[in-house]
């Protein structure tokens, strides 16, 4: 990393003081933030997908068609709801990464796949194959196993 980047990193880390007492609340707030991510991500994708289906496929790559496609996309409220939910997901992701291990957050957020399957069954009335249910079960088991490790194994800067 370049020297200026190191300086900047040190400068920023001194601006935000860490609170030692917060360590004991680490697990509940990590669970809460991951739950938020797991809810926001599939709902964001569903709204975005519904919005994109409503406006239909782009007819050609001609500049005027591309412009009209994006104009229709950004004039669709469903797409804005999807973008808003995905932005909120990204903020939650950033916040949880400020204290928890990446190797803890990344597999745990895969629970979103389980929720997506559940939403597909309950909202979209899709058929869920036994193989897919087996996958959901394995994800839940994996998240349970990862969830029993400590969310943070590194020292806070």
């Amino acid at each position: 990393m370049p020297a200026s980047a190191c300086d900047r990193e040190e400068e920023v880390s001194t601006k935000v003081a860490t609170v030692p007492s917060a360590r004991k609340n680490l697990r509940p707030k990590t669970y809460a933030m991951i739950l938020l991510m797991v809810i926001l991500n599939p709902f964001g994708n569903i709204f975005l997908g519904k919005g994109m289906k409503r406006i239909g496929a782009m007819s050609s790559w001609a500049p005027s068609d591309v412009f009209h496609f994006f104009f229709r996309a950004f004039a669709t409220s469903t797409i804005w709801i999807g973008i808003g939910l995905l932005l909120a997901f990204f903020v939650a992701y950033l916040l949880v990464l400020s204290w928890a291990d990446y190797s803890y957050v990344q597999p745990s957020s895969a629970l979103a796949n389980g929720l997506t399957a559940l939403l597909a069954l309950l909202v979209l009335h899709e058929v869920i194959t036994p193989l897919r249910w087996a996958g959901v079960l394995l994800i839940c088991l994996g998240v349970f196993v990862v969830g029993h490790t400590h969310p943070r194994t590194t020292e806070q800067s």
Binding site: R8, S98, Q106, P107, R132, L138, C140, L141
Partner: protein, 125 residues
Amino acid sequence: MLTAFIFYLLIIFSGTGGEMCVSRAMKTVGEVTDFRPRSIGRTILLALKVPWMWLGVGMMAVGFFSLLGMLSIANVSFVFPATALSYGVGALGGKFFLGERITAQRWAGVALVAIGVALVVIGKG
């Protein structure tokens, strides 16, 4: 074939690497303890001053567009299960790039999640 392979490498390494850079940037900013909107906004502005954040977002964008490129030349039923490898790469990156301690229990959980994600996509029907 070569194009698909390059896209695949970019999805796994650029996408996951980007997330690790973002994680590093957020660790630099420090643990968030105040969740009021103004404080969250301030934290995000601070994060944007860390070069790792820009590198991470850029790499994630490359990973995302590679995914779109890969989807244009390969089947969804192949692409998404194959990306389950990113969980393994993520754990390795967590260990060697971010200095996280990956216990056997965490490795086991990561493996279960990776297999589970692959099955969910294969079993889409």
